[in-house]
């Protein structure tokens, strides 16, 4: 039952990522062609554009959602690949706990960065 719940969240996270990372890629990697959410010119990594997105509540929220969804989707997918190698139950449990700890750690770090960037006084 727990695995079914894990898998369902994996699919939901995938759909969320398709939308949010799709938007992220359009902003960051199709900046020359589309130029969306880059008010200071078409270079998406230029500080003024970065600052514009940092200060936007929409981007702060979507960055945090994207972070959670990407970490969950990525670690669950990697865990599935590892489990298919035929690991012992104890090793499987270790991997699950280890990925949860690393994932939560990275989430806290990334979410803090997004919130701190929003609160920056520049």
């Amino acid at each position: 039952m727990r695995e079914t719940a894990y898998w369902t969240w994996f699919i939901i996270a995938g759909i969320v990522l398709f939308c949010l990372v799709g938007l992220h890629m359009m902003i960051m990697h199709l900046d020359g062609l589309l130029g969306i959410f880059n008010p200071a010119g078409t270079v998406s990594l230029a500080w003024k554009n970065v600052l514009f997105r940092n200060k936007s509540l929409f981007f702060t929220i979507t960055y945090i959602i994207m972070l959670a969804a990407a970490l969950y989707h990525g670690f669950y997918g990697f865990r599935t690949i590892l489990f298919e190698l035929g690991l012992r139950k104890a090793t499987q449990r270790f991997i699950t706990v280890f990925f949860w700890i690393v994932g939560i750690g990275l989430f806290v770090f990334g979410a803090y960065a997004a919130l701190a960037a929003k609160a920056m006084k520049i």
Binding site: I11, I15, M25, G32, W47, G86
Partner: protein, 145 residues
């Protein structure tokens, strides 16, 4: 590995690529896994690199200068192509998993109709869209150089 039963025909990781006369979807499965692991590795680095914006414009610009190295530029294109493939192929897999792209269930009367008749055209469409996206991404990359 004591309690894991092994079978003689177990292919392991090598089975991802060398399983025999597989259809193209099997190779997409292999690429999907490789791109997935690659994107996860990139993403973990990306969290740290993108958080440098917290330290202000000087640190950010210095980091971006470092990332101007050709090695990182090639990596950027590879990640974009990997993402385009993984996202669109993932969408195809979700559609199939949810039963939305496998055709209607029907009684098996000879000559049997395969659900591949529905899945294969979807795969072709998805790969065409993926190719167009990759072309747009690579074009945009050189546009900015």
């Amino acid at each position: 590995m004591g309690n894991v039963k092994r079978y003689d025909n177990r292919l392991g990781i090598t089975g991802w690529l060398s399983g025999g006369r597989w259809g193209v979807e099997r190779y997409l499965y292999f690429i999907h896994r490789i791109t997935g692991v690659g994107i996860l590795l990139f993403f973990m680095m990306h969290i740290f690199e993108s958080s440098l914006r917290v330290f202000g414009p000087a640190t950010w610009n210095a980091a971006m200068e470092t990332l101007e190295h050709p090695l990182f530029k090639v990596g950027e294109i590879v990640v974009f192509c990997g993402f385009a493939f993984h996202a669109l192929n993932g969408l195809r897999l979700i559609l199939i998993e949810l039963g939305l792209a496998v055709g209607k269930a029907e009684e098996p009367i000879y000559p049997y109709r395969s659900s591949l008749n529905t899945q294969r055209p979807l795969m072709v469409v998805v790969m065409i869209v993926c190719s167009l996206l990759i072309v747009a991404g690579v074009y945009d990359f050189f546009l900015g150089q």
